[in-house]
Amino acid sequence: MSTASHRKRARRELATGLLFLGPNILGFLAFTFLPLLLSLALAFSNWDLRLHNMFRDEPLRFVGLDNFTRLFTAPDFWRYLGNTLFLMMALPFGIAGSLFAAVLLSQDLSAGSRRNRLLLFIGALMLAGVGGLALLGAGAAAMTMLLGGVVGLILVGGVAGGSTVYRTLFYMPHFTAGVATFILWKKLYSPYSGPINVFLTPVLDGVGQAVNAVPAPIVQAGLWIALLLLIALLGFGVSRLCAWWHEGEVGVGGLIIGMLFLLLPVLSGFSWLSVKAAGIVLLCGAAVAIAVPLIRLLAADHSFNAPAGEGLGSALIFSVLLMVGQFVLWGLSAVMHNLPAMVGDGGLEPRTG
């Protein structure tokens, strides 16, 4: 086939492909991309529905960064941002959980021996017994036992019946009525009789007693441990990124962006710290954790140059994962620092009102 006819055919195929993709591309442009661009432009203007519509003739004015200044200086903005970041932590945990579940579901865990079937029967009997207790009014304790029984039954069922049992159970919520799922979760989270609070109450009581038994400075030392771990995580992340850059696996873009993500918890945490000495330790530790790998990197011979965007995805995933870990440490350190005061205020009681 000649080159000309080959090109002609390629063009025709491209045109056909675009024709089929056209509706989707047009939809994306009309309903996602253009509104996004327009929103971005409007963010720098004084656009107000009350002033700028087809029945009004007030001129649209460029206001620079005024809208952003208002946003960042709003009294509740940082609280809302903190809440959002906190909730976003569920994302990496959710992804990791999904991956873990997928790996588990792909394993064959069956062990169809007679012994296991016997265990299954005993589990069912226990479940029926607990269900009976719940019906007879044993209340919250029975709910917890019932939940424990169900979990036990699932485990035994999986061992006896293999991964098919797990896969079926895992997919079950998709056919369950939304209302039933909703009621189930409400019951689980019920502040008075839900098994989660029933389970948490003795745990928190125990923690409260333990905290009360130990002098407050010892508990608050958790802050320092968390700080050291945080610096160690930062150092580990920076040294790994530097090593990857040195070996040509990551370009300069991945190196810089990855380091920015790793530094974010340190910088934001520095502004939260109320203990002055902890701030100084954090700053010094972070400086050392960054300086040491960088000095080593400069001293070494850098012979594998990678393009700037090389390995950006890997660097992002790695640094975001470590960043989440750092934020979790921040949360734990704050809890440890405030724990003695919280126990004193009765703050470890599960919230019921």
Binding site: N46, L51, F55, R56, P75, T352
Partner: protein, 509 residues
């Protein structure tokens, strides 16, 4: 394969065009107007009534058919975005149920003052207290589909069963707390988790009404007399927030958000409150006459009474009155025909239907004087309930104070934020701090709105001058000319306190 896809596409396009061309609903021999309203089966009956009313009133074509066909554009009760977007884009329905203040601020409503006079739906045909909702700058922009006022429904059977004194028609906080504490202590066995409450916790718009009624009873309003400044940075607002917290967390008269969530999984129109009220878990619910629509669906008719909102001791008895107003879209091609629909809202057939359906109060108060309204033959258990609402509207109703410089939606959201802070966690903000923060946020919105509009700035300057004169007269202990005051609450309150110079002829505040 690609030819097959292309063929399928062509067939789909042809089928689509065919469907549009043959759709009977899209063809009409007379002009069609659309009414953007909420989802309710009553709307379909109202459309039929309108068509019949047109025939009865002689608004017909030469062959005796109605001159206009009304069609519904049904929108969820809480979804305002569709109306907003369509209005500013020029494609909204001819008639819209809306917050007239909010839509007026967008400039999308048609002035109907002259049509209202000619067709008999001027403001004299509805409750006097609702006039500020319909009129802007002396011009009328709509007419009520119904009028709403919220009171406490009382489950009298439950009170009698517990041996608790029945809430009176009018009361103050002290009586409210005394009866409430007695009710919850008798209804909940000692040592057990509380599952019965004196009343429901008002949420959403009802929470706003609840708080506004509280501060108004102490003589405070959201805005000053000319509505140029928010006045909530005041101890009286802080006291109202503290009182609310006391009722929820100290006296346990109302459930907290967590308690409310844990005692029922039900949701829907008015949430679970009505079911819990019916079953006696709530002794009272704070709601409008429209609650009867659902209460009538329960198997057993329940005995009820109605109490107005309590006042602070010696305070000013009041109740926020509102409306689901209908207005004509400025971009409508059939404004004259849409005006006929507004005229229909003032007519007997429409008002009678509101009376029968118990969909809040009929727009025309004359229809709340009839036996059909006060003593519906099918519901003898409701006798005494209906007139409580119409009487409350007439005696205590005061419209919301809607400043022309900030949206009522923004104001209610900011007030709700302050309330939530105090109710959720007092460590987040004390009542006094929350009061200051709410006022500062609303005043910041006012300042912002002045930056971009010379018209608004001129109005603000003019009203601020008037406000300075009012403040001066008040400081000197002199009376203030009533026409200077634009805030509907202050107009009423100034007259009540004898602070106003009422014009000769005694203009109704």
């Amino acid at each position: 394969m690609k030819y097959l896809f292309l063929l399928v596409l062509l067939v789909l396009v042809a089928a689509g065009v065919g469907t549009v061309l043959t759709e009977p609903d899209l063809r009409s021999e007379v002009p069609v107007i659309y009414w953007a309203t909420d989802l309710s089966s009553a709307r379909f009956r109202q459309v039929d009534l309108f068509h019949q009313w047109l025939i009865d009133e002689g608004h017909t074509t030469t062959d005796g058919k109605p001159v206009v066909e009304l069609r519904l554009d049904l929108i969820g009760r809480s979804d305002n975005s569709k109306k907003l977007v369509q209005s500013v884009a020029g494609v909204a329905s001819d008639v819209m149920d809306c917050s007239i203040g909010q839509m007026y601020a967008l400039g999308v409503l048609e002035d109907v003052t002259d049509e209202a006079q000619a067709l008999g739906f001027d403001v004299s045909k509805t409750y006097a207290a609702i006039e500020p909702e319909l009129v802007r700058g002396g011009r009328q922009y709509g007419f009520p589909c119904n009028v709403s006022i919220i009171c406490f429904f009382v489950n009298t059977d439950r009170f009698k069963e517990l041996g608790v004194e029945l809430p009176p028609d009018e009361w103050d906080y002290e009586t409210f707390e005394r009866i409430g504490r007695d009710f919850v202590s008798k209804a909940n066995p000692p040592g057990e988790r509380q599952t019965v409450f004196f009343c429901d916790s008002a949420t959403g718009w009802r929470a706003y009404v609840f708080l506004v009624n509280m501060i108004r009873s102490q003589g405070l309003s959201v805005f000053n007399e000319t509505m140029t400044r928010c006045t909530l940075d005041d101890d009286r607002f802080a006291e109202a927030l503290s009182k609310l917290r006391q009722w929820v967390y100290d006296d346990h008269l109302m459930p907290s958000a967590a308690e409310e969530a844990s005692i029922s999984a039900e949701s829907g129109f008015s949430g679970a409150s009505l079911s819990l009220f019916y079953t006696g878990r709530y002794g009272m619910i704070f709601n409008g006459r429209w609650s009867l629509i659902r209460l009538r669906e329960f198997d057993r008719p329940m005995q009820m009474s109605v109490s107005n909102f309590p006042t602070s001791p010696g305070g000013f008895a009041n109740n926020l009155i509102g409306t689901r107003g209908a207005a004509i879209y400025k971009g409508s091609k059939h404004k004259d025909l849409a005006a006929l629909f507004l005229s229909f809202l003032a007519s007997e057939p429409y008002n009678q239907q509101i009376v029968e359906d118990a969909d809040a109060l009929p727009p025309n108060p004359a229809f709340a004087e009839t036996d059909a309204y006060r003593k519906p033959a099918a519901y003898p258990n409701e006798w005494g309930v209906h007139e409580a609402f119409s009487d409350a509207a007439t005696r205590f109703g005061v419209a919301n104070d809607e400043s022309p410089f900030v949206s009522v939606v923004t104001v209610s959201r900011l007030i709700s934020d302050g309330r939530d802070k105090v109710l959720t966690d007092p460590q987040m903000a004390t009542s006094r701090d929350a009061a200051g923060q709410v006022a500062a946020a609303i005043n910041q919105e006012i300042a912002l709105s002045l930056k971009d509009s010379d018209t608004r700035r001129a109005l603000y300057d003019s009203l601020s001058d008037t406000q300075a004169k009012i403040d001066k007269l008040r400081a000197e202990g002199k009376k203030v000319p009533l026409e200077w005051i634009t805030n509907p609450f202050h107009r009423r309150y100034y007259v009540k306190m004898g602070w106003a110079e009422v014009p000769a002829g005694g203009e109704a505040p």
